[in-house]
């Protein structure tokens, strides 16, 4: 198999699902003729036409609102929010409407939409093109929150999201789009939502991460291996539903746990994982659960020194791993 990029995984999933099921269509800003600002939808307009690849106004609330209405009328919309930073105008549609339609109708209606959004920093995107927003949506019952970190998972998870009967928030780390390469199996396959993946086996500590941070944690783990410290790295992959079983099994094996994310520390999803470990695996722990995250400042700064200060990198993660190993 040839190596492909993560963005190719997005593109292949969309094309295959649109080919497989004519109810699937995409909408968003510049997704049509331009093929999306990151070219995730490149080629879909020519292949499937304007009716199924719809350019929208710059109005995120409308993009999601239209998608919800279309989903309730029997189609399967995949809405692209150009940057996760711009998703906030659609928060009400997502939280008050999409997440609650099944519940408020006592199961009579569903809302099978996928909302894709590139998130995260490290690309000098500054305050408005770098945010991590997963914790906002992980807090909302009725939503699934998926964050792939490899090209293979991107395709398999996006196909699963499109076939899911409930609303799925699908966050793609923009720095991984072309940085991360890997094999993508040919043809139709699904990666299950709700299953974490152990990317590296280890016995000294368990590290949980998603998106770009998975790769930084793997780099840090390689560094610690030179000192004889074996770190287990778990790619959480789906924030909700969370694969607690894999998380707890890993902690029971290693007795030390760390969560790494680039969202800011306070109220980040690392707090939830830490709480679960504290509640359900306390007797297995030899050290307090550690969180490595961005500082509690309003946004990622633009200039490089402060961007580096904000974003956890392999060196900072490795230092935290060493400290935890020595506890």
């Amino acid at each position: 198999m040839a190596e492909k990029t993560l963005i190719q995984g997005v593109r292949e999933a969309l094309a295959e699902e649109m080919e497989r099921d004519e109810r699937v269509w995409v909408l968003g800003e510049d997704v049509g003729r331009k093929g999306g600002v990151f070219l995730a939808t490149e080629g879909l307009y020519d292949r499937f036409g304007e009716a199924r690849v719809l350019d929208t106004p710059l109005a995120e609330s409308s993009i999601v609102g239209v998608a919800i209405g279309a989903a309730m009328n029997g189609t399967i919309p995949v809405a692209e929010i150009q940057f996760a930073d711009f998703i906030h105008p659609a928060f009400d549609q997502i939280v008050s409407e999409a997440a609650r339609i099944r519940y408020r109708s006592n199961g009579d209606f569903g809302c099978p939409i996928v909302i894709r959004a590139p998130f995260g920093g490290g690309v000098h995107g500054g305050l408005y093109h770098s945010q991590s927003v997963e914790a906002f949506y992980a807090h909302v019952p009725g939503l699934k929150v998926v964050i792939p970190s490899t090209p293979e998972d991107t395709k398999g998870l996006l196909k699963s999201a499109i076939r899911d009967p409930d609303p799925v928030m699908f966050f793609e780390h923009k720095k991984t789009y072309r940085l991360i390469k890997g094999e993508i199996p040919e043809g139709d396959y699904l990666t299950p939502i709700g299953k974490a993946a152990v990317r590296r086996e280890g016995d000294r500590m368990s590290v949980f991460a998603w998106g770009l941070m998975v790769h930084y944690c793997l780099q840090a783990a390689e560094e610690l291996e030179r000192d004889g410290i074996e770190v287990e790295v778990v790619d959480v992959r789906t924030i909700t539903p969370l694969d607690k079983e894999t998380i707890l099994r890993s902690v029971e094996k290693t007795a030390r746990a760390m969560v790494v994310h680039e969202d800011n520390l306070t109220g980040g999803f690392g707090a939830e994982i830490s709480a679960i470990i504290a509640e359900e695996a306390f007797e297995h722990l030899d050290a307090p659960v550690v969180r490595v995250a961005a500082p509690d400042i309003p946004a990622m700064p633009f200039n490089k020194p402060q961007e580096d200060f904000f974003l956890p990198g392999p060196e900072r993660i490795a230092a935290a791993m060493r400290k935890l190993a020595a506890y």
Binding site: R102, Y103, S105, N106, G107, G110, P141, G142, K144, D164, P165, D166
Partner: protein
């Protein structure tokens, strides 16, 4: 709209609401634990 038509629509709507209220008040309350259902399709 004629006044008679307006009156008829209002009477029909009031009757529908009254009927729904009677039905709801006569129905058993849902089980508390059923509040956990229908969050997701598989629930």
């Amino acid at each position: 709209m004629a006044e008679e038509e307006d009156e008829r629509i209002q009477q029909e709507a009031t009757a529908d609401v009254d009927e729904a209220v009677v039905y709801a008040e006569a129905a058993a309350s849902p089980a508390a634990e059923d509040a956990l259902l229908n969050v997701f399709a598989e629930a």
